[in-house]
C-alpha cells in the first residue's frame, strides 16, 4: 500500500536537499525537481484506483481522526495532486534551460516548496493544516515573483505579499472562530457538528475564510495583485502561479463551501448565488482588462482572472453537472495557461520585448512555438477540438439545466466574456502569423528541453479535446466527492 503522506514528504525532503546539494555542485540543483515530481505522478496514479472506490484516509501520528491531523486522498485530492505534479514536472523540465540567472538553486527549492504546499492543500483534511500548507504555497510564491530582482518583480511581490498576508490573517481569524464554535479543526468533524450554515455565528467565519482564500483565488474585488505578479514573474513561475496556485485557492474555497459549510443551491442561504454573481463579475472584469492590454504577459494574467471567474461560477451552481464542468475547466485552463506562458517565455526571450506588436512575424521565425501558442489560445477560447471546448460546453449545459433565471442571465455574461476572449486572442494570433515584423530575429526554435513540455501540453490539450471521456469519468467521481458531504464525513470519521 502506498501512503499519500509520501506525496507531501518526498517533494518537501527534496526541496531542502537542494541547498545542501548546491554546496557541492552549482549545476546539480536544476536536475533535482523533476525527480520528486515524477515520483508524485507515479504515487498519485497508484493511489487513483483505490481512491476512486473509497477515499484513502490517513491519520498522522496514529491518533484517530478528529484528534489527529489527517489526509483525505479522495478522487478530488488525487486528481488535483496528479495535475499539480504533472504540470510541475513539465514546467520544471522547461526551467532546466530557461532559468539561468541569479541564485538558481533557490529558485528550484522555492519551486518545489510551492508545489509541496499546493499538494498539501488539496490532500489535507484538517482546516488549520490547510492554512499552513496555504502559507507554504503563498510565501514561496511571493519569493518566486521577486526572483528576478528587477524593478517590476520586486514591486509586484510587495503588493502580492501585503494583500496575501492580510488574506491569510482573515483566513486564520475565520479558523479561530470555527474552533471556538466547534472545538475541533478536523473538517469532517466541523461539518458533522455544523447544522445550518445561515446562522450568523457560522456565517461570519465562512465569510472571513472565503475572503481570505479569495485573495489567493483572485476573486474579483480581491485580485489587484494578480496581473502585476503574474506578468512580472519569470515565465515558468507565471505558468505555475496561473496554472496551479490560483486553482488551488479555488479548490480550497469549494472544499470549505461544500464540505464544511454544506451549502447547496436549494438551501435557504443565497450565498452560492452571490458567489456565482461574483464569478461572472470576475470573468467580465478580467476579460475586459485583457482586451485593452499591449503587454502579452499581462494580457494572459488578466485572462487567468477571467477563467477563475468562470470556474467559480460553475462551482457555485453546485449541481453535479456544473461541478464536473468547473473541474474540467480547471484542468483545461491549467494545461492551456501553462502552455501559453511557457511559449510566451521563449517568444519574448527572442524579441526582448513584452509588447504584442513586437511579436509580429514570429509565426514564421518560431513555427512550432507559435503553433503551440495558437493551440493554447484556441483551447482557452473554447474552440473544438481542444480541451477548452468540452469544459465550456458542460458549463453552459449545466447553467441551462438549472432552470433558474439568474443563471441564464449569468451564462449570457459568460458567453459575452468568451467573445471578448476570442477577440484578444485572435488579435495575437493575427499578429503572430499575418504581420511582417522584425526580420532580424534569428530563425531558431526553442531548445529541445523546453520543446518537450510544450509538445506534451499540446498533445494533452488536443487529446482531451478529441476524447473528453478520457477524463470525465474521473471528474464526475471527483465532483460527486466534493458535493457529497455525508459520505465525506462518514469516510473520515468512520
Amino acid at each position: 500500500m502506498v501512503n499519500p503522506v509520501l506525496l507531501i514528504v518526498v517533494p518537501l525532503g527534496f526541496a531542502f536537499l537542494i541547498p545542501i546539494l548546491s554546496l557541492l555542485s552549482k549545476k546539480a540543483a536544476k536536475y533535482i525537481p523533476p525527480i520528486p515530481l515524477c515520483f508524485n505522478i507515479v504515487v498519485s496514479l497508484l493511489l487513483l484506483p483505490r481512491a476512486l472506490e473509497n477515499p484513502v484516509v490517513v491519520s498522522i501520528g496514529g491518533w484517530q481522526p478528529a484528534f489527529s491531523i489527517n489526509l483525505v486522498a479522495g478522487p478530488v485530492g488525487i486528481l488535483l495532486s496528479a495535475v499539480v505534479a504533472f504540470v510541475g514536472l513539465l514546467v520544471s523540465i522547461y526551467a532546466v534551460d530557461y532559468i539561468r540567472e541569479g541564485a538558481t538553486d533557490r529558485y528550484h527549492m522555492l519551486f518545489l516548496l510551492l508545489l509541496t504546499g499546493a499538494t498539501g492543500v488539496v490532500l489535507t483534511g484538517d482546516i488549520f493544516n490547510l492554512f499552513v500548507f496555504f502559507e507554504i504555497l503563498c510565501i514561496s510564491s511571493y519569493a518566486l515573483v521577486a526572483y528576478a530582482g528587477d524593478k517590476a518583480g520586486i514591486e509586484s511581490a510587495v503588493k502580492y505579499l501585503i494583500q496575501g498576508a492580510v488574506g491569510s490573517s482573515l483566513l486564520l481569524i475565520g479558523i479561530g472562530l470555527l474552533y471556538g464554535l466547534f472545538g475541533t479543526l478536523n473538517m469532517a468533524d466541523i461539518a458533522k457538528a455544523l447544522q445550518s450554515p445561515s446562522s450568523l455565528p457560522v456565517f461570519v467565519p465562512m465569510a472571513l475564510i472565503i475572503s481570505g482564500l479569495g485573495v489567493e483565488a483572485a476573486i474579483f474585488p480581491l485580485n489587484g495583485w494578480l496581473p502585476d505578479a503574474h506578468s512580472s514573474a519569470p515565465s515558468p513561475v507565471s505558468a505555475i502561479l496561473s496554472g496551479i496556485a490560483i486553482e488551488v485557492g479555488l479548490y480550497a474555497i469549494a472544499r470549505v463551501v461544500f464540505t464544511i459549510f454544506g451549502l447547496s443551491i436549494d438551501s435557504t442561504s443565497n450565498f452560492l448565488m452571490f458567489l456565482a454573481v461574483l464569478g461572472i463579475l470576475t470573468l467580465l472584469v478580467g476579460e475586459m482588462c485583457a482586451l485593452g492590454q499591449n503587454n502579452i504577459k499581462r494580457m494572459l494574467a488578466y485572462s487567468s482572472i477571467g477563467q477563475m471567474g468562470l470556474i467559480l461560477f460553475a462551482l457555485a451552481m453546485a449541481s453535479s453537472y456544473a461541478v464536473v464542468g468547473g473541474l474540467f475547466q480547471l484542468v483545461s485552463h491549467t494545461l492551456a495557461k501553462a502552455l501559453l506562458f511557457l511559449t510566451v517565455g521563449y517568444m519574448t526571450y527572442r524579441t526582448h520585448s513584452l509588447d504584442v506588436s513586437a511579436l509580429a512575424g514570429i509565426g514564421k521565425r518560431m513555427p512550432i512555438t507559435s503553433l503551440a501558442f495558437t493551440i493554447g489560445a484556441f483551447s482557452l477560447i473554447g474552440l473544438p477540438p481542444f480541451a477548452g471546448f468540452p469544459s465550456k460546453l458542460l458549463i453552459v449545459r449545466a447553467a441551462l439545466a438549472t432552470k433558474e433565471c439568474l443563471f441564464f442571465v449569468l451564462i449570457g455574461g459568460a458567453l459575452l466574456g468568451t467573445v471578448i476572449e476570442a477577440a484578444y486572442f485572435f488579435r495575437i494570433v493575427q499578429v503572430l502569423y499575418f504581420k511582417d515584423g522584425n526580420t532580424n530575429i534569428a530563425r531558431k526554435q526553442v531548445p529541445a528541453v523546453a520543446l518537450i513540455p510544450i509538445v506534451i501540453f499540446v498533445i494533452l490539450i488536443v487529446g482531451i479535446g478529441i476524447y473528453p471521456k478520457f477524463i470525465t469519468g474521473l471528474l464526475s467521481s471527483a465532483a460527486a466527492e466534493l458535493l457529497n458531504r455525508v459520505d465525506y464525513i462518514r469516510n473520515v470519521l468512520g
Partner: protein
Amino acid sequence: MTFLENYVFYVGAFGLVLIGLFTILVKRNLIKAIIGLAILDTGVNLFLISVGYLARGTAPIYTRAEQGAQPMVDPVPQALVLTAIVIGVAVLALALALAIRLYRHYGTLDLRKITEQRW
C-alpha cells in the same frame, strides 16, 4: 462594564486587528504598512489564544496520578499560535527583505511614488 471585563481579550484582539488593518490601508510608507502587518498578526494570535483561555487555568500536563480535576487551558490554540507566529515571522522577514530591494530600485519607500505596475 461587565462586557469589557468578560471579553477583554477579544476586545483587545479585534482592536489590534483593526489597528493593523487601518495601518496597512492608510499608511503610505512601506515600513509602516509592514508594522501594520505585524500588529495584525499579533491581534490574530491574541485572538487564537483567548479562544482557549481559561481564567486561573493551568497547563494541561498530567504528571502525577493524584492530580485531580482542575481547570486547564485548551492547548490546541496555543499550538496553533506557535505555528502562526513562525509563519508570521517568515512573512515579515520576506516583506522587510523586499522593502530593502524596493528602496534600492526606487530610492523611496513612499507607496504613492511606486507606480510602475498599474491596471
